[in-house]
C-alpha cells in the first residue's frame, strides 16, 4: 500500500476508564477488576435492577456549562470528551489552513435515547402538552458529529454512521476510504452511546439477551450481554502526513472489511462474519496466518459467540489459530461505540505485545473451539491484530491494525 492510514490519536470514556491511560491500565492489569454493577431502574409500580457497565466519576457540569448541556444528550457529551482527548493526543492543530480537509465520522446505534425518554415521559406520563424545544437537536444521532465539528471548526465531510453494534466500525471504514482517496487529510472517527436508560433496558430485556449475573463471552452456560455506555475516538491520517508533522503513529490501519448477512434482523450468520474478515484480509493484502490476535465481537450471547467462533474457525486454520479474546466482559457492550473502543483495545494489545483477557470465563464451550485467552492476559508477539464487530441486521465490520 502506497501511503498507509495511521492512528495518531486516541481518546475514550467507558466503565473501564475515563481516558486511554486508565482504560489501558484496567485492560492489562494482572487480575481483571469488575466494572459492571447492577443499576436501579425505578418505575411507579416496581423497581428493577439491570447489570450495566456505567461510566464512573463523571459529572457533566464539570465538563460543560449549563447552556451547553441544554443541547447535549449524554451520548454527545461522551462523544465530545473522547474526541477532545483524541485530538489533544494527536497534537492536531485545527485552523483555517486545514479545517476543510478534516472529517468527523462518528457512529451511534441509538443516539439521544435519554432525551427521547424524557420527552416521552413528559408527554405520556406527566400529562404535559409540550416537550423542551431542544428535544430534536439533542436526540439526533448526528448531533455528536455536529457538536465535535462546531467545537473545533471542522468543515470537511461530517456525518454519523448507524449500523447498531458496528456503527463505529463503519465510521472508521468510511473515513479510511476518504483518506485513501485523498478527499481529506485527517479524520476524527469513533462512536458514542448513552444507552443505560430505563426504556432501553426494558427494550433489550424483551429480546432476552441481557445477562442476569455476569458477561462471560465464549463461556459455556453464558448468561448474555451487559450494556455499557461511553465513547471512543481516534484520529486517522495518512502516514506521510503524520510523518511530515512529527505525529505519533500508534498503529497502521491496514485492512477494512464490511459485509451484510442479508439473513435475519437478530440471528447472525457465520458466512457474513467470514466475509467481513476475508474482505479485511484481502484489503490488507494479508493471509489468515498473518493475524496474531482477534479482538472478537464476543458479545456474550449464545448466538453471537457460536456463530463468530464458527466463522473464525472457517477463516483461520487450526495450525495458525490466532489468539482470540473479547474485552466486553470488562467494558460492557457499548453498542455503537463498541467497535471504536475495541479498536483502541486492539491497538493497545499491539503496543503492549499482550493479548487482553476475556473476563469471567468459567467453562469451555464445545461450540466455541477457538484459541481463547480467558481470564489472564497473555504476552505474545503481535504484528497484526483484527477487531470484529457484528451487529443486529447482520451488519459486519472487521478492521486490521499493524504495529
Amino acid at each position: 500500500m502506497s501511503d498507509a492510514i495511521v492512528v495518531s490519536g486516541m481518546g475514550c470514556i467507558s466503565a473501564a476508564g475515563n481516558n486511554v491511560a486508565q482504560f489501558c491500565a484496567n485492560l492489562f492489569q494482572p487480575t481483571l477488576a469488575n466494572f459492571i454493577a447492577p443499576t436501579l431502574i425505578q418505575k411507579p409500580d416496581e423497581n428493577s435492577y439491570f447489570l450495566a457497565a456505567q461510566v464512573k466519576d463523571y459529572y457533566a457540569n464539570e465538563h460543560f456549562t449549563k447552556q451547553q448541556l441544554k443541547l447535549l444528550d449524554p451520548f454527545a457529551q461522551f462523544a465530545l470528551l473522547s474526541a477532545e482527548q483524541a485530538i489533544a493526543d494527536a497534537k492536531l492543530a485545527i485552523n483555517a489552513s486545514n479545517q476543510h480537509r478534516i472529517s468527523v465520522v462518528h457512529g451511534t446505534s441509538i443516539g439521544g435515547q435519554e432525551t427521547i425518554e424524557q420527552a416521552y415521559a413528559q408527554l405520556f406520563a406527566q400529562g404535559k402538552s409540550r416537550t423542551h424545544p431542544f428535544t430534536v437537536p439533542k436526540l439526533l444521532p448526528s448531533s455528536a458529529c455536529g457538536h465535535i465539528a462546531m467545537k473545533y471548526g471542522i468543515k470537511g465531510p461530517t456525518f454519523a454512521t448507524s449500523s447498531a453494534c458496528s456503527s463505529s466500525g463503519h465510521a472508521i471504514a468510511m473515513a479510511t476510504l476518504m483518506l485513501r482517496s485523498n478527499l481529506i487529510d485527517y479524520a476524527i472517527v469513533g462512536g458514542a452511546e448513552a444507552c443505560l436508560t430505563p426504556g432501553n433496558f426494558y427494550a433489550w430485556h424483551g429480546l432476552r439477551v441481557l445477562a442476569h449475573d455476569s458477561c462471560r463471552p465464549f463461556s459455556k452456560n453464558r448468561s448474555g450481554l451487559v450494556m455499557g455506555e461511553g465513547a471512543a475516538s481516534l484520529v486517522l491520517e495518512r502516514e506521510s502526513t503524520a510523518k511530515n508533522r512529527g505525529a505519533t503513529c500508534y498503529a497502521k490501519l491496514v485492512g477494512i472489511g464490511m459485509s451484510s448477512d442479508a439473513h435475519n434482523i437478530v440471528q447472525p450468520l457465520a458466512q457474513g462474519a467470514e466475509q467481513a474478515m476475508i474482505a479485511a484480509l484481502k484489503d490488507a493484502e494479508l493471509s489468515p496466518s498473518d493475524i496474531d490476535y482477534i479482538n472478537a465481537h464476543g458479545s456474550g450471547t449464545t448466538q453471537n459467540d457460536t456463530t463468530e467462533s464458527a466463522a473464525i474457525l472457517s477463516v483461520f486454520n487450526d495450525a495458525n489459530a490466532p489468539f482470540v479474546s473479547s474485552t466486553k466482559g470488562t467494558h460492557g457492550h457499548m453498542l455503537g461505540a463498541g467497535a471504536a473502543l475495541e479498536a483502541i483495545a486492539a491497538i493497545l494489545a499491539l503496543e503492549k505485545q499482550t493479548v487482553p483477557a476475556t473476563a469471567n470465563f468459567v467453562e469451555k464451550d464445545p461450540n466455541c473451539n477457538i484459541n481463547l485467552v480467558a481470564n489472564n492476559k497473555v504476552a505474545a508477539k503481535l504484528s497484526h491484530v483484527m477487531s470484529n464487530s457484528f451487529a443486529f441486521g447482520g451488519l459486519n465490520t472487521s478492521l486490521i491494525f499493524q504495529r
Partner: protein
C-alpha cells in the same frame, strides 16, 4: 405571589445578564444578546410558567401582537393570561 411582570423578568434573567431597565427598553431581543435559539427556549419557559399557549408567529401578527422585544412580550403574556382566566 409573583406578578406577571416579575415572573417574566425572572425568565429573562436566565437568558441575558443585562439590567432589567435595559431589557425593558430594548427595541429588539437581539440588542440584549438573546439569539433565535434562546427565543424558542423563552417561549417554552413562558408557556410552562404561565400555563398558556403562545400561538405561531403568523397568528400573532394577525392578532396584532409581536414577540420582538420585552414590552411586546409582556403585553402578549398579560393578554393571554387574562384570556385564560376568562376561559376557566
Amino acid at each position: 405571589m409573583q406578578s406577571i411582570e416579575e415572573k417574566l423578568q425572572s425568565i429573562f434573567s436566565d437568558y441575558t445578564e443585562q439590567d432589567i431597565e435595559l431589557v425593558a427598553n430594548a427595541q429588539s431581543l437581539d440588542e440584549i444578546g438573546i439569539d433565535s435559539l434562546s427565543i424558542v427556549e423563552i417561549i417554552f419557559d413562558i408557556e410552562e410558567a404561565f400555563d398558556i399557549k403562545i400561538p405561531d408567529e403568523s397568528v400573532l401578527q394577525k392578532q396584532g401582537y409581536s414577540f420582538s422585544n420585552y414590552r411586546d412580550i409582556l403585553t402578549l403574556v398579560s393578554d393571554l393570561v387574562k384570556q385564560e382566566h376568562e376561559n376557566v
